[in-house]
């Protein structure tokens, strides 16, 4: 049986800059994969390739065994892959409910009549805990609420795979716990998750498998325990004792 989502040797080169180099990943239904790595490692680019925002220079992406490389992002969404964004992007002048309704109206449930789509949207708002803010313009929400809105909006499209891009960034400690609980609930619904994160603790806690990217290449792929002790990973984050002596100028 083909994996739910598979990337084969995905490479992306921007004007001479290698953003991704022969990246591979495999995701089964219900999995949760963490993607970590220093800034500029290519993590968001990977999401962009999977979700169809960007065409890879070479390599292929497969969903349920069928190739989806280069398909438009709206088609990929309908197939069942949804993503959030590193810097939240709500539809500012629409209300919270309307935001989620967009997802409900153009995703898996797009053929349902109006009332049922609105009901679906409300369900997802309840799921993330935003039902009290349904009629507020999205621009007025707090950061945490905007992140929850993005998640609800994605869930409303009925995805089987959810890509979360640094969903924890900028949140306080208690807000982080809130989001972690939401991610656990998402997994309980049977949705596979790939999360890009910087906060290692969260990744170790939530993810069964972890992939480490550095300068576009995968330098480790395995369970959290394996990855954390991998010398290449330690070097990528902290540098070797040599480069530490050489000084900060070495890394730019």
């Amino acid at each position: 049986m083909a994996p739910l989502l598979e990337c084969r040797d995905v490479t992306k080169i921007f004007d001479g800059l290698i953003a991704l180099a022969q990246v591979r990943l495999e995701l089964e239904p219900g999995d949760i994969l963490g993607v970590i790595g220093p800034n500029g490692a290519g993590k968001t680019t990977l999401f962009n390739v999977i979700s169809g925002l960007v065409r890879p220079t070479s390599g292929k992406v497969f969903y349920n065994g069928k190739e989806i490389t280069g398909l438009g992002s709206n088609k990929i969404c309908r197939l069942g892959i949804a993503r959030t964004y590193q810097l939240v992007r709500p539809f500012a002048s629409l209300t919270t409910l309307e935001n989620v309704l967009v997802g409900a109206s153009f995703g898996r449930d797009r053929l349902l009549p109006f009332r049922e789509r609105v009901a679906r949207a409300r369900e997802e708002l309840d799921f993330v805990g935003l039902h009290e803010r349904a009629d507020e313009p999205a621009a007025n929400l707090t950061l945490l609420d905007k992140k929850r809105l993005e998640i609800a909006r994605c869930l409303a499209t009925g995805p089987k795979v959810l890509l979360l891009d640094e969903v924890i960034a900028g949140l306080t400690a208690s807000e982080v716990l809130n989001i972690i609980a939401t991610v656990r609930d998402i997994r309980k619904r049977g949705i596979a998750v790939i999360m890009i994160e910087h906060v290692l603790k969260v990744v170790m806690e939530l993810c069964r498998t972890v992939m480490v990217l550095n300068c576009g290449s995968t330098i480790a792929y395995g369970s959290p325990g394996e990855v954390v002790n991998n010398p290449r990973v330690i070097e990528a984050y902290l540098g070797t004792s040599d480069s530490l002596h050489r000084g900060a100028g070495a890394r730019v």
């Binding site: 921007f14 004007d15 925002l53 960007v54 065409r55 500012a92």
Partner: protein, 290 residues
């Protein structure tokens, strides 16, 4: 190549040079301000009229006019930026777009209309003749050659300015990464004002030469701005070199169209080129594909 063809080519390159110069101003302005100045063509028109007046009333030749025009129009540009564009510059992108289109479009209408009030008859090209020069089998107007040289000189000065001066580097920094430039402490507002002024001045200096070749009317501003858009898209959004090359392509294309198909079709050619490049290669000749 026949003598005719060479003449056409020279004419086309010259026209292209003028287009490229103005388009470069538009491109750099857009790169720094993130605002497309719809009034850009109006400044070309003003430059033309200024050059004409200077020549007819004071006997100043176009080359001197161009040099004089630059500081004047830089100041004008800075003033316009401070009054009209700075107030809207920190709005979110969607609002910035609407506001900037409204403001620059409104400005172009006002400039055009007020100019028309004072300028009643179309202005024909300056009759500034120099003895013709023979290059190979072809007789080329030395005026045209000089203009071409002058434009090259301006372009080179610009390149050097962009690479060596602090302002030039600041401009390039902002174009590459606005946030990064802010973090490093570059005064975005001041550099934006200067860049806008520079863009305006480039349009005006292009206009100074434009009037030696063509008839100028107050209403030519907006159609010209549309042409510059075509040039910038043709060359590739975000590429300064592309704007210049795009200008050359358009200039040659227009001249060839006027000669072989008929002058009444040459306003079409800019748009036709735009549509073709959008269909075939949407990111332009030098732009980056997604």
């Amino acid at each position: 190549m026949s003598a005719d063809a060479i003449q056409l080519l020279v004419g086309g390159v010259l026209l292209g040079g003028i287009y490229g110069l103005a388009a470069f101003g538009l491109s750099i302005s857009f790169g720094v301000l993130n605002v497309l100045n719809l009034a850009h063509g109006e400044f070309l028109m003003l430059g033309s009229l200024a050059s004409y007046s200077a020549f007819v009333l004071l006997g100043i030749n176009p080359f001197v006019s161009a040099l004089l025009a630059i500081p004047v129009f830089v100041l004008l540009g800075v003033a316009i930026y401070t009054l009209l564009l700075k107030p809207v510059s920190d709005k979110p992108p969607q609002q910035l777009l609407t506001a900037s289109i409204l403001v620059t479009l409104g400005l172009s209408l006002v400039i055009e209309d007020l100019t028309a009030l004072f300028w009643v008859r179309p202005v024909t090209g300056i009759d500034y003749s120099l003895p013709a020069v023979q290059v190979g089998p072809v007789i080329v107007s030395s005026l045209r050659l000089l203009i071409l040289l002058f434009i090259c000189f301006l372009a080179m000065a610009l390149q050097i300015g962009l690479k060596k001066t602090f302002t030039g580097k600041a401009i390039r920094a902002i174009v590459q990464s606005r946030e990064g430039a802010k973090i490093v402490g570059i005064p975005i507002s001041r550099v934006s004002a200067l860049t806008f002024g520079l863009g305006v001045a480039l349009a005006a200096s292009a206009g100074v030469f434009y009037v030696t070749l063509f008839t100028v009317t107050p209403a030519m501003g907006l159609p010209l701005t549309v042409k510059y858009l075509c040039v910038v898209v043709l060359g590739g959004l975000g590429s300064l070199v592309g704007s210049v090359i795009g200008g050359l392509v358009l200039g040659v294309a227009e001249v060839l169209t006027a000669y072989y198909i008929g002058a009444e079709w040459s306003p079409c050619i800019a748009f036709a080129l735009l549509v073709s490049i959008l269909v075939v290669r949407p990111w332009g000749l030098f732009g980056q594909s997604a």
